[in-house]
Amino acid sequence: MTDFRKDFVKYAKSLNEASEDKNIRTAISRAVSSYRNTVSETLERFPHTPALAEEVQEIKTRSMATLDTLLEQAMASVERNKGKAFYAKDHQAALEIALGIIGKGKTVVKGKSMLGEELHLREYLEENGNEVWETDLGEFILQLRKERPMHILSPSIHVPREQVAEVFTKFFKKEVPPDIAEEVKVVREFLREKYFTSDVGISGANVVAADTGAMVIIENEGNVRLATGAPPVHIVMVGVEKLVPTFQDAMKVAEVTWRYAQYGVPGYVNIVSGPSKTGDIEKVTTYGAHGPKEFYVIFVDNGRKEMAREEKFTQALHCLRCGGCMYECPVFQVTAGHFGHTYMGGIGTVWTAFVSGGMEKAAPLVYSCLRCGRCVERCPMSINVPAMIGELRERIVYGTYED
């Protein structure tokens, strides 16, 4: 017997508190109008995008139907490129493989990754005797504030500059004024030193091409470029749902992702397929020229393959994590990441049920979805989240789910 009553009450309280939080309210309204403006502007500038998005839907459908083959192919490609590829069945396996590569007493710089949040990667590596730094500015702020992200793209969306100054002043042990440029500068100085002295860089990937083993990572700050280029070891940790057959497919997915993820044109698109190498002296291939000498990819399953097998849910794996649906969600607009558990909003609720937390964590979230359907309108992948929420409700009511 699973009693959800207390969970609902607790969750309702947290939503109510969040909806009274002025910081969340202001930050999200600003973010929502900026999202709507940028996206409509860039769609006008690049009018081929919606058609391209439809093509990407097809690519994703094909990819999820042949996931096992793609995974095999991608792992072989990585190995051919002189990297090492791993498959992690679950959460624990993923962490252990990463720790096995890293060891103890190391310094690690990390790019932003929702998978990292799902696995509680930083905390795990720290508990095992490593020093880990988030290099995305938003995540760095949250690391210092010991908080969890409130949005998948702008994790610290709810923290205004005054509060950033406060936490920086305390951490850097010097007066940091509530001036955004100054705040960016202190972090830049601090992390620059970390990039070049750390032992390992960890990143995620937005899309992976199975034919070439190319990891595509989209970013604006340039932190991923440094974190994956400067240290001697680069580990990519990526969910298996990010696989697509070819490099060309990957480019299409990437373009649609950044367009709807409000990048317009992203500052950087990193494509990494193997360790750094040179043949400049006597044509002898030598690894670790300027970039990492060692390159590892951990493909993480953790419930994704099961989701791919479920006809009613496989479409949820098409999610590009553009964040568009969250901005259009009336519940998210007033509660931010409180409507979520690692993954947020309606789509995040589906992910919670299968990948991160399970049905018990998902149940209250499932019932706070309005099923209003505006997310479907926004979603470049037209993911029918309300239908999935309906299916989850049925499983919860009748207890027909696995723990």
Partner: protein
């Protein structure tokens, strides 16, 4: 595995299954609006209320009960009746909702009356199942009680069949949605033509009398109507026909913002916050006369409106009825 859901979900689902109404309202009470109209019980076109507008004032007091009591607490479970008592007797709305104001009851009850009058004016002939009418079960579907919905739907269809109607006109878009998309999957040979109240008015909009309204109006598109049923231009056409000036909210038609209603029974405070924001969005259009076409939107927007806000919130039915009286 068995799961224990929040009490309010038990109450609502069991009320539907046992009493044909989410709040166990009596059939005679639900049908009281039609007394003077002497509508036939048989005909080609069935007027279907599902008891939804009639239920609105009671929902609000249910929600007040929920808001003030911890749903996990003993007191709450006593208020709501233990599950086994519920099985035998259901919840007595008379006792539970003693606080419902007569004026609210009258207002929401009269929505059905007004809707029927408007259709009559347009020359439609229709029948009504009266006190036998059962709620569509939309909430069973919404809340995940789909297995129960399967059995329940059979009973609803039996009542509908008695009317001999070929077409069902639904006042609530939620009823139209389940009849259109869910019933055909549950019940073999469910081949009624389903239309919304808006569809019928729209077809004969040329016959509508002009309504002299000094201020402009703004439409709150209901999610179900705009996105699932793809009805939004029709509302504008109808209002144009009666000579009303329509202002548009920034988020409208298929991009409309939800009123917050669907989570009202489980997350009442949050639902009010969302409703309040939507009211403000609508007022930003420049009009403070809000028209909607869904019972839950009506109730949620009313609930979300800030204290002292003088915005008028009406169902389109109520607005169109002005033309009937004139």
């Amino acid at each position: 595995m068995e799961t224990k859901m929040p009490m309010v979900l038990d109450v609502i689902s069991e009320n539907i299954i046992k009493h044909g109404s989410p709040l166990a309202l009596k059939g005679s009470e639900v049908a009281s609006w039609a007394k003077e109209l002497n509508l036939p019980v048989k005909g080609d076109l069935l007027f279907y209320t599902g008891g939804e507008y009639q239920m609105l004032p009671f929902i609000d007091s249910l929600v007040k009960t929920i808001t003030h009591l911890d749903q996990g607490s003993k007191v709450f479970s006593m208020m709501m009746g233990a599950r086994n008592i519920l099985n035998k007797t259901g919840i007595s709305p008379e006792k539970m909702y003693a606080s419902v104001l007569a004026k609210d009851k009258d207002r929401y009850n009269s929505v059905c009356f007004k809707a029927a009058k408007v259709l009559k004016e347009l020359g439609y002939e229709f029948c009504y199942s009266g006190s036998e009418e059962l709620y569509s079960g939309a909430l069973l579907y919404e809340l995940g009680y789909l297995k129960d919905m399967k059995d329940y739907a059979k009973r609803v269809v039996e009542v509908i069949k008695k009317s001999g109607a070929k077409t069902i006109v639904c006042l609530s878009p939620h009823a139209a949605e389940v009849f259109k998309f869910v019933y055909p999957k549950l019940i073999e040979g469910f081949d009624f033509e389903i239309c919304t109240y808006i569809d019928l008015v729209w077809e004969r909009r040329d016959k509508l009398a002009k309504i002299s309204s000094p201020e402009s109006v703004v439409i709150h598109d209901s999610c179900r109507l705009a996105r699932e049923l793809n009805i939004h231009q029709e509302l504008r056409d109808i209002l144009e026909s009666v000579g009303a000036e329509v202002k548009e909210a920034q988020m409208n038609r298929e991009w409309t913002s939800c009123c917050g209603g669907p989570i009202k029974i489980l997350f009442p405070e949050l639902s009010h916050v969302i409703g309040g924001r939507r009211v403000n969005e609508l007022k930003d259009s420049g009009s403070s006369h809000i028209l909607t076409s869904c019972p839950y939107c009506l109730s949620a927007l009313e609930g979300g409106r800030a204290k002292g806000d003088s915005a008028v919130i009406e169902d389109l039915i109520e607005f169109l009825y002005r033309g009937v009286k004139a």
